[in-house]
């Protein structure tokens, strides 16, 4: 069997396992509520589990696993990833204030020593909680995206990877994650809407992975993104959060910075690939 065909098979097996575990976990947690916490953990770690199982099933081995930390000369990507996440979350909070809370201004932001303390505490929690998001990135960035790049052009690989990652969120979105329940076309429109930021944010994470040849900067960036959701405490005190936090509009607004910034990384990755191909032709 030629290697491209084998790679396609591996991509299919990986996708089926990763999404299958999530769907199974959510179905079982509805039936066996006592197991909800345990099943949620397995759902979150499903991309990593899919990576390992796919390699075992297809006898691929564990080379090119992106598990080297590669700190030397790459610290800027580690800290840059955390800074990127902080910037995106901050911009998301700004979008909410500007468009969904018109009765409030920046002067109403609850910025005191306590809220700064919570934000700094969340940053420090990146150190202990990164393993949770390692479960995702070890699948998406360390396996799926490189495999897709072997069988299709880079832009298409990033789009397909983003769509698979976005659709992996289908079950939680059907339970109200990111967009709530009250929008037309629930949950299908939410699934489509989720795929767009995952394509572009995925490009940013792929950029970090490729620059360092390590999955860990992407892990740190993604962990910081989740930990710094606490930036919502900056929303003005007394602001009506019912429309602010769990609504379709809020979900889209928060993701706009992801899309804009991610598009820059998307372009950088595609440009780099084009330059490499041009050099190859010249040689």
């Amino acid at each position: 069997m030629n290697s491209k065909k084998m790679t396609v098979i591996r991509i299919i097996i990986f996708t089926v396992i990763a999404n299958g575990i999530v769907i199974l976990a959510y179905m079982l947690s509805d039936i066996f509520t006592a197991f909800e916490n345990l099943l949620t953990i397995f759902a979150a770690l499903s991309p990593a589990i899919a990576n390992v199982l796919t390699r075992l099933i297809t006898k691929e081995g564990f080379r090119n696993n992106y598990l080297r930390v590669n700190l030397k000369g790459n610290l800027r990507y580690y800290f840059g990833g955390i800074g990127l996440a902080a910037a995106l979350q901050f911009l998301g909070a700004v979008m909410l204030i500007v468009f969904l809370l018109p009765d409030y201004g920046f002067k109403d932001i609850d910025f005191n020593i306590g809220s700064v303390g919570y934000i700094l505490l969340s940053l420090s929690y990146i150190l202990v909680n990164f393993w949770y998001l390692f479960g995702e990135e070890f699948g998406w960035r360390a396996y799926l995206t490189p495999k897709l790049e072997e069988v299709m052009p880079e832009p298409l690989a990033l789009i397909v990877s983003g769509i698979i990652w976005g659709m992996w969120h289908a079950c939680p979105i059907a339970e109200g994650l990111n967009f709530g329940f009250d929008y037309p076309g629930f949950p299908y429109l939410g699934w489509v809407a989720m795929c767009i930021p995952t394509i572009f944010y995925g490009a940013a994470l792929t950029y970090l992975t490729k620059k360092t040849n390590s999955v860990f900067p992407a892990v740190m960036c993604h962990t910081a993104m989740d930990m710094l959701a606490v930036l919502g405490i900056l929303l003005p005190e007394g602001a009506d959060l019912e429309t602010g936090s769990q609504s379709f509009e809020a979900g889209i607004l928060v993701f706009i910075p992801h899309i804009i910034v991610g598009a820059v990384f998307f372009y950088l990755l595609c440009r780099k690939k084009k330059a490499a191909e041009k050099n190859k032709e010249t040689l």
Binding site: L38, I113, S115, V116, G117
Partner: protein, 255 residues
């Protein structure tokens, strides 16, 4: 580098095995103790949940106390002049040797955190399935998170002493730190406000507020956040200091 990490794992496997074994035994014992208490009608749903939380928090503390005991052993295994000469002449040099120690310590901490997370979830699930009482608070994770930073901070202080003076003298630094903490506790018990110890309910209420962060004001939260962030920074600084002290300390090792 990965070879040195593998070496640490192999040399310390017995301690790690004991740690894992003791953790499992404690959980199994408590599981059956809870079972007996439920059968005898000691708990209702809310007291069961509180008891499970108390146990989980104590368990989280115990894990990290074991880790504190185990971590310095990784220095004693390499206290040999021959080894230090070999490693300093290798491409990794003494910085690689020290980096492997610090990285191994950090990995053990993170693995302990993940272990306590899974152990709490499995324990709560087992209690819910067998005894019918649900407890999904995962309160002990706050303690676990705090203990990771506390152990990082303590390691940052004591590891350079282990590197410079060896494990015998280095361990006295840890004893000194714990003695200091005990002294502070004694002073507090002699002169401080002991109203929270009036009853078990008031004590548990106070502890819950501390674990959930509700007992702290804004300034205390800010100070705690700086301590947490600085713990990792201090750990890295400690690594740099240990690199400089390694060869001086190696002169005191046995052949």
């Amino acid at each position: 580098m990965y070879g040195l990490l593998y070496k640490e794992l192999v040399l310390n496997r017995k301690s790690l095995f004991v740690l894992a074994f003791v953790d499992i035994v404690i959980y199994v014992l408590f599981f059956f103790m809870f079972g007996s208490a439920v059968k005898e009608g000691v708990f209702d749903e809310s007291s069961f949940s509180d008891a499970a939380d108390i146990f989980s928090c104590i368990y989280a503390l115990l894990i990290y106390i074991f880790v504190l005991i185990i971590l310095p052993q990784m220095f004693s295994t390499d206290e040999s002049k021959r080894w230090s000469s070999f490693v300093s002449s290798s491409p990794l040099q003494e910085s690689g040797q020290i980096f492997s120690k610090y990285m191994f310590g950090f990995i053990i901490l993170i693995v302990s955190f993940i272990w306590s997370y899974f152990a709490e979830v499995i324990f709560d699930t087992a209690l819910s399935v067998y005894y019918g009482f649900e407890n999904k608070s995962l309160l002990s994770l706050n303690i676990s998170s705090a203990m990771v930073f506390a152990v990082l901070f303590l390691g940052a202080i004591e590891f350079p002493f282990y590197v410079r003076f060896g494990s015998k003298i280095g361990s006295s630094v840890k004893m000194g730190v714990f003695f200091g903490i005990d002294l502070l506790a004694v002073i507090y018990f002699l002169f401080g406000d002991l109203s929270v110890f009036g009853s078990l309910d008031s004590l548990w209420e106070f502890l819950s507020e501390v674990i959930n962060g509700e007992a702290f004001g804004d300034t205390a939260i800010f100070a705690l956040s700086l301590c947490a962030l600085s713990a990792f920074g201090l750990y890295i600084l400690s690594y740099k200091i240990s690199c400089r002290l390694y060869m001086k300390g190696a002169e005191n090792f046995e052949q």
